[in-house]
């Protein structure tokens, strides 16, 4: 046990503009240790890594609390360059590679081996030549360590992603002083066999005495190779466990666990009635949120939730059904098949959508509240138009009255219907989006990330509004959210999407660990 720590992070805290996003994080790494950090989106994993790397974003927002010790010495890591000098390397989630360079050139970029040339005697360092044989043999050595049988002179463009990833790793281990390598969700983009190979490579690196920080959400991987596991939740450290003394269920529970505020429906409701929405093998090509064959069935009057980690495809489901991103597969609305890839058709069949991208897709920021509320139904249902002989013009009075009613019903805080939505707070903007969807008088309302980027009080109001719509108007609501707690507080059933498919459907009252397992990539089907 006398072994000294390579890296220690003590009482690390960080706040952005007064919001505490990390507090009291303690982390210690020994040489050759593989230490996993797990947590949901927004648990603080990236912030922690940004601190470790001295990223600009940390220092431009007031630095961090606590201290970082490298080899037992306190260090101020004020820039990524400093982090590299200290021997901290990183394998990025998105590859930082130059596609039109060879593997060697990528590995050696900016650290090229040089040899003196005729000119360098006179003009110095800058005019030295690259020592390609040396660079190639170094790269070969690094690649061999990882057991990759690919030639070092191959161009990176066109390599399978797995090899790109390994090239990045080779670059890190080629750095002679490297002590710690951070792997940020390295398996997210890899196929299973590639992922296995990567895990092998990680073990080999660790055997060389390099410590590894492994950020991931795939729990089985964590258990397979880690020595220690740290679980973060909401910016705090929940537990640090040795892998021997824990199991996947416990980690899942630690990761998700939070008190769930029950908002609605006193007891659990079951729906046996008509099917409102059914999908069969729905595929949606939404960049970053690819849906890969989703089968769902939602009943009339149900409050249905779609959850899962970011990038797994949960957001793509609603976008695909609404025709905003190209999709394939079959969708039935109230028993009638829906033509995909055409938003007008989706709306004509009684769907309405509150987008997750409020400022991008959800609002006309430079227009008035009233126009924002009515425009979709004006365009698709010809409401709010008045006939003036040959032309139909906007019905000002009708629009105004409707907007006033919505402002009152949804309690939108504004100076009046003519105010530009740009000037509203996030919560009120969200209500404007909901008001527009309601103006369509939909059968099924899709709501994506309704509480993203709005403050706590407003969150509650938005959720209560949705619950009221569901209960009073018996509107079927399908809500997509990254916040599991939120889904569990309002939904009747929750589908967890993982890798573009439904991993399973749970009830809000099901144990935390079930949610954690499904999100962590363990597939499981059960009737619900």
């Amino acid at each position: 046990m006398g072994e000294p720590f390579l890296l220690q992070m003590k009482n690390i805290g960080k706040s952005y503009y007064g919001t505490q996003v990390l507090q009291d994080i303690n982390l210690s790494l020994k040489p050759g240790e593989i230490h996993a950090i797990v947590g949901e989106n927004g648990a603080g994993k990236s912030t922690l890594m940004n601190i470790l790397f001295g990223m600009e974003v940390i220092h431009s927002t007031g630095g961090y609390e606590g201290e970082v010790l490298v080899d037992g010495k306190k260090e101020e890591i004020e820039s990524p360059q400093r982090a590299m000098e200290l021997g901290i390397g990183m394998v990025h989630q998105e590859f930082m590679l130059l596609p039109n360079f060879t593997i060697t050139e990528n590995i050696k970029l900016n650290r090229e081996n040089l040899k003196p040339s005729f000119l360098s005697r006179v003009f110095g360092e800058k005019t030295k030549l690259l020592n390609f044989p040396q660079m190639n043999s170094d790269s070969r050595k690094a690649l061999d360590k990882l057991d990759i049988d690919i030639e070092e002179y191959v161009m990176v463009a066109g390599l399978p992603v797995g090899y790109m990833q390994l090239t990045e790793i080779a670059r890190e281990i080629d750095k002679t002083n490297v002590k710690v390598i951070v792997f940020d969700e390295p398996t997210a983009v890899l196929a299973e066999s590639e992922a296995d190979r990567l895990l092998e490579a990680m073990k080999k690196i660790a055997d060389e005495g390099i410590a590894i920080l492994f950020i991931t959400h795939r729990l089985d991987e964590v258990l397979a190779i880690s020595d220690n596991i740290t679980v973060l939740r909401d910016g705090s450290l929940v537990a640090t466990k040795s892998v021997d003394e824990t199991d996947v269920n416990q980690i899942a529970e630690l990761m998700v666990g939070r008190k769930i505020e029950k908002m609605v429906h006193g007891e659990e409701r079951s729906f046996k009635g008509e099917t409102a929405l059914k999908t069969e093998n729905l595929v949606v090509h939404m960049p970053g949120e690819k849906v890969n064959g989703v089968d769902l069935e939602v009943r009339k009057g149900e409050f249905f939730g779609i959850g899962g980690l970011a990038g797994q495809g949960k957001v793509g489901v609603a976008n695909g059904i609404m025709g905003l991103y190209p999709g394939r597969g079959k969708v039935w609305i109230n028993g009638k098949q829906l033509e995909l890839n055409n938003p007008s058709k989706s709306m004509a069949q009684g769907l309405a959508y509150v987008s997750e991208d409020r400022r991008g897709v959800g609002l006309l920021l430079d227009s008035s509240i009233e126009l924002n509320i009515v425009i979709t139904s004006l365009h698709n249902q010809n409401k709010f138009l008045k006939n003036f002989g040959i032309i139909r013009l906007l019905d000002n009075k009708g629009i105004h009255e409707h907007a006033l009613k919505m402002i009152k019903d949804l309690d939108i805080r504004c100076t009046g219907p003519g105010q530009f939505v740009k000037r509203l707070s996030g919560g009120n903007q969200q209500k404007v989006c909901i008001a527009r969807a309601l103006t369509m008088e939909p059968d099924i309302l899709f709501v994506s990330e309704p509480t993203r980027g709005i403050d706590v009080g407003a969150k509650r109001l938005v959720l209560e509004t949705l619950v009221r719509l569901n209960e009073e108007l018996e509107m079927t609501i399908i809500m997509t959210s990254s916040e599991l707690g939120e889904l569990r507080s309002v939904c009747d059933r929750i589908a967890i999407v993982s890798e573009g498919k439904i991993a399973g459907i749970l009830r809000p009252g099901d144990p935390d660990k079930d949610f954690g397992l499904l999100m962590g990539g363990k597939r499981k089907r059960r009737g619900a």
Binding site: M347, L371, T376, H379, N380, R392
Partner: protein, 356 residues
């Protein structure tokens, strides 16, 4: 209250516009100091505003539909010129049997230019839909190229009327006088009256107001609202089931039509039809005017059009005599200041475009 208003004014108006406004006021004060003929200045300001108004208004549907200020409004201008020449040719060829009055001829010119403008607008809109993100650059060069192509066309189009054709060789003249056909100042003189020594070109201003009204009406129709949304936020509009490309095409076409009508209004007031180089730099004046009025490359209102036209063309009118009165060596100062303001304001607006 006044301070409040001033603050808001500055925020909404932008520093560049405040400077321009200050410059305009400075010019006006100088005009008084130099004891220039104020009535004369006001009269020509009013005429200028009416002359350019519709051309500046042509910017509105373009900006609203999301293609930005229409630097290629010269396409519309060319359509208008074709309309004008064809109408004149008609009057000449049918001259023996039918006598056209000035008003009729003006309307005929508009009617002839319309189909050209519509077809050109659709084709041009189709092109602009293919180059999203760099519309302004493409528009400028499309404008330049078409003006150049039409320079050749003016030589070969079969216009034979002696008013238009060169006496020797082929092709039409650089400037064609409208005096003989009773079109000159047709709108200007309609219901025109005097206030003191200021002559108000009632018809001209009324026509501008009427066109503004039509555009205003259009913007309140379903198509107009869709167009506004498509320009404001294309992704939103697609989600709302609006055909963004179609809206942009409608905007472009409307802008082209207004350009065609605009040049006819311009020509009748000026008394000449200017061909060849004439339309080359006209779009820049219109763009600068609407931007000075407070529009940005993504947002514009009819108020911006009216304010901008008044301000920018007001400066043009006042600057030249003031500069001349100041020192005769600076005779070209008026023209130079116009160019500085025109290009400066376009530059300013373009630097603001990337924001938000």
């Amino acid at each position: 209250m006044i301070k409040d208003f001033a603050g808001k004014f500055l925020a909404n108006f932008g520093l560049a516009r405040v400077i321009i406004l200050a410059f305009f006021i400075f010019l006006c004060i100088m005009a008084v100091v130099f004891q220039l003929d104020i009535a004369e200045l006001l009269t020509s300001s009013l005429v200028r505003i009416g002359m350019w108004g519709v051309l500046v208004l042509a910017m509105l549907p373009a900006i609203k539909s999301g293609i930005g200020p229409n630097f290629g409004v010269s396409l519309g201008i060319l359509c208008g010129l074709v309309g004008a020449l064809t109408a004149l040719e008609m009057a000449y060829r049918l001259g023996d049997s039918v006598q056209f009055g000035g008003g009729t001829l003006f309307i005929i010119a508009i009617l002839i230019s319309l189909p050209f403008a519509i077809l050109t607008g659709i084709a041009y809109g189709w092109l602009l839909n293919r180059v999203k993100g760099s519309e302004m650059m493409i528009a400028t060069y499309v404008g330049f190229s078409m003006v150049s192509i039409m320079k050749i066309a003016w030589l070969f189009l079969p216009y034979t009327s002696p008013e238009m054709a060169w006496p020797i060789g082929r092709g039409v003249r650089v400037q064609i006088s409208l005096a003989g056909r009773g079109i000159t100042r047709l709108l200007n003189n309609f219901l025109s009256f005097n206030i003191g020594e200021v002559i108000v070109p009632t018809g001209l201003l009324l026509f501008f107001a009427f066109m503004c009204f039509l555009v205003w009406l259009f913007m309140r129709s379903k198509t107009g609202v869709a167009m506004h949304a498509a320009g404001d936020n294309p992704r939103f509009s697609e989600a709302a089931g609006i055909n963004v490309n179609r809206s942009r095409m409608i905007g472009t076409t409307l802008s082209t039509i207004l350009g065609a009508i605009g040049i006819l209004v311009y020509a009748q007031s000026y008394g000449f039809v200017q061909l060849y180089e004439g339309p080359m730099f006209m779009p820049f004046v219109a763009v600068a005017a609407v931007l000075i009025g407070g529009a940005s490359v993504r947002k514009a209102t009819i108020t911006h059009v009216i304010v901008g036209t008044a301000l920018f063309l007001g400066i043009q009118v006042v600057a030249i005599p003031v500069a001349n009165a100041f020192t005769t060596e600076w005779a070209s100062m008026g023209e130079i200041s116009r160019k500085i303001i025109q290009n400066g304001v376009i530059l300013y607006a373009l630097t603001q475009a990337g924001g938000e």
